[in-house]
């Protein structure tokens, strides 16, 4: 069994196709994405118009400047003038702070306007009895650029972050502040942070389905399986060694993705890394079973590869590898939610972005498990080890 496993590992690493799908293909994705400078659009260049000029507004502006990638320009007092700059995407001078907390100036494109209206942070207004938070800022931004990681959302989240702290400091949690971009708590999440769990999930799926399908189909096509069944070796041992080989490969793949994500994309993974490995480990089985089905339904290795593309392509685009499924039309979303990659990606993102625990992603894991069982049963039913 050990010899069988070693042979299987040896073969996998000598097989350029397997190495390509497991390592090179997802790595290419990460590297290509690193060429698009999402980082640039993520940094917020804010024109601040402080009509309130209170202690609190000043404090917030100072705090904003402390964030990485945030630049502030305070040269405007007229909102309409500032809006023209935003609409024309004009480049003006912003003040940034570097890592040593020294201020420096840089020319950049305006992407958000932050307006503190008169009376913002004026403590006397706290006497009013309305439920509405008394202090409201106004954010202006380019709607076309309203992705999850758009500058306006970044600013909104930073504001939430700052004002939460001030809330706690002065009124022990009573909510005094709000922004009109309210509600969306994105905790400094950037596009890459969303993308990385997606690409990890895609990598597991691709390597699992295509890897298993092409390996098994080629053994079938070349009658290696038949040759093996003429020996006393129980065929399950052979399949098991293939599966273990794949799990080793997959673990290496996830490691490579995590390293590239961190050092090439500078993406953040907030949650537990061991938990991500665990999810990936369990995620493998459903795709291996699907790959097995593809191998069973195909006569040649090439046909199996094509069929596994048919299985994996819809998941790649619908399950939300590159974006979250929220933006899909309802009907499509309903179908997309049913695909086996979807709960895996949800779980990976929940852990990676929101630091979810194993218990919190139990529903997703359960769906993955059900999928695994279903596809395993189908695989066993359709695959014939012995000819008639």
């Amino acid at each position: 069994m050990i010899k069988l496993l070693l042979s299987s590992l040896k073969q996998t690493f000598r097989d350029k196709g397997a190495v390509f799908w497991s390592f090179v293909f997802p790595a290419i994705f990460i590297i290509i994405f690193s060429f698009f400078n999402f980082e640039g659009s993520v940094s917020a260049h804010i024109i601040v118009i402080d009509q309130a000029n209170t202690e609190i507004s000043n404090k917030i502006i100072k705090a904003l400047l402390d964030f990485d990638g945030v630049g502030i320009n305070k040269d405007f007092s007229d909102i309409d003038e500032a809006k023209i700059k935003l609409e024309k995407s004009e480049k003006i001078e912003f003040t940034f702070k570097n890592d040593e907390r020294q201020e420096y100036k840089e020319i950049a494109t305006v992407n958000v306007i932050l307006l503190f209206p008169k009376g913002y942070g004026d403590m006397t207004s706290l006497l009013s009895t309305t439920d509405e938070p008394p202090f409201k800022v106004q954010l202006f931004y380019n709607q076309a650029n309203d992705s999850l990681a758009s500058p306006s959302k970044i600013v909104a989240s930073i504001l939430d972050h700052i004002t939460n702290e001030i809330n706690l400091q002065i009124v022990h949690g009573k909510n005094l502040f709000s922004t009109n971009r309210d509600g969306i708590s994105v905790n400094e999440i950037r596009y890459y942070d969303i993308l990385v769990p997606g690409i990890i999930g895609m990598g597991i799926m691709q390597a699992g389905i295509i890897g298993m399908a092409s390996t098994i189909a080629s053994y079938k096509e070349k009658r290696v399986l038949k040759r093996l069944s003429a020996t006393p070796l129980p065929i399950w041992k052979f399949i098991l060694s293939e599966v273990i080989t794949h799990l080793v490969l997959s673990t290496l793949q996830v490691t490579l993705m995590l390293v590239l994500a961190k050092y090439v994309l500078n993406a953040n993974i907030y949650g537990s890394i061991p938990l991500i490995y665990l999810l990936c480990f369990f995620g493998n089985f459903v795709f291996l079973a699907i790959g097995f089905i593809a191998a069973a339904l195909s006569k040649t290795a090439r046909a199996a590869e094509n069929l596994s593309q048919v299985f994996s392509m819809p998941m790649m685009f619908l399950s939300g590898v590159f974006f979250e499924r929220d933006s899909l039309p309802e009907v499509v979303k309903f179908i997309a939610n049913l695909l086996p990659l979807s709960p895996l990606l949800d779980a990976l993102r929940a852990v990676s972005l929101r630091e979810a625990t194993l218990y919190e992603v139990r529903d997703e894991l359960l769906i993955v498990l059900i999928w695994t069982l279903v596809s395993f049963i189908i695989a066993v039913k359709v695959f014939k080890f012995r000819e008639e």
């Binding site: 010899k3 042979s7 009658r223 290696v224 038949k226 000819e387």
Partner: protein, 316 residues
């Protein structure tokens, strides 16, 4: 051959009333035979006769519809058990081995499946491939790959070796080298059961031959007995210096000893029952002033046996 007579009658394998039906079609139609220890047993027949199906049932790769196999006093219905595969060696028709393992690694891996084994280098030496132990199968020539495939079937030092059309698709010279290899393996006291659709191969190599057609065994004996038992004719071919005239041909065809007469390109061919009477024919030709050369006298062969038994040619 000598060895075969000495150990004769010790039965290595017995097949009883084997039946394989595919959707109502009889691929193997109630066949029974015995294979003796140490012999090379051939199953000869055209494509689709049921040779491979029979072999694969015995090897445990297919399940028989009915019938039983007896190996080492163990009776097994429908085909042999996994545990009995320890004792047999299998070479499949057109199957290949792992693409990314070297010859040495493949033999080492396959050997690890068995409790008894021959070491890879020893096996490679037998087929003169020890120099190529680190090559992949895809880099071997057709003959080398076939030699490897055959030697891989004896990794477990089996009692019985099954070879399914071991020389199909190889050119004649390589075919001869494979025959030598099979004889060499046979000398190591291994019983060999092989299928073929080449009658020369069966004649040259096999101690006994089962002739199979449409799922049935229609004859089983040594090649010599098969030919002798049937009342078969000799074939004689010759070339004349001057073409025979139509009248000469008609007269020749009507000669009382000539059974059948026809032309093959420049050759004249006829069949004769008793080859000792050939002189009468030659005298007749001389008397008619027909000068000839390149006289060939061909004894009847398995091809003729097959033709006689089934009314069709093996090659069809």
């Amino acid at each position: 051959m000598k060895q075969y007579y000495e150990t004769m009658k010790k039965i290595a394998l017995k097949v009883e009333n084997l039946i394989k039906k595919y959707n109502g079609l009889m691929a193997v139609d109630n066949i029974s035979f015995e294979v003796y220890k140490g012999e090379i047993f051939g199953i000869l027949g055209p494509n689709g006769a049921g040779k491979t199906t029979t072999l694969e049932i015995i090897e445990g790769l297919r399940i028989a519809t009915d019938g039983q196999i007896i190996l080492d006093n163990v009776k097994m219905r429908h085909g042999i058990k996994k545990s009995m595969q320890e004792k047999i060696g299998v070479q499949l028709q057109s199957s290949s081995y792992f693409d990314y393992l070297t010859l040495y690694e493949i033999l080492d891996l396959f050997g690890s499946f068995y409790s008894r084994r021959i070491y890879p280098l020893e096996l490679l030496k037998l087929v003169k491939l020890e120099e190529r132990k680190d090559s992949l199968v895809k880099n071997l020539s057709g003959g080398q790959a076939q030699r490897f495939s055959i030697v891989a079937s004896i990794v477990n030092d089996p009692e019985i070796v099954f070879l399914d059309e071991p020389t199909t698709g190889l050119d004649p010279q390589i075919r001869r080298s494979i025959w030598d290899l099979i004889r060499e393996i046979n000398k190591k006291e291994k019983t060999i059961i092989m299928t073929t659709h080449y009658m020369e191969e069966a004649e040259e190599l096999c101690d006994r031959v089962a002739i199979m057609d449409s799922g049935k065994i229609i004859a089983l004996d040594s090649p010599h007995n098969l030919v002798n038992k049937l009342d078969l004719k000799f074939t004689i071919k010759f070339i004349t210096y001057k073409k025979m005239s139509d009248e000469q041909k008609r007269d020749f065809g009507n000669h009382k000893l000539v059974i059948k007469f026809w032309e093959e390109k420049e050759k004249y061919v006829f069949r004769i029952e008793d080859p000792t009477k050939i002189n009468d024919i030659l005298n007749w030709l001389e008397k008619k002033g027909i000068k000839f050369k390149n006289l060939e006298i061909l004894p009847p062969n398995l091809e003729d046996v097959f033709l006689k038994l089934t009314g069709k040619s093996l090659r069809e």
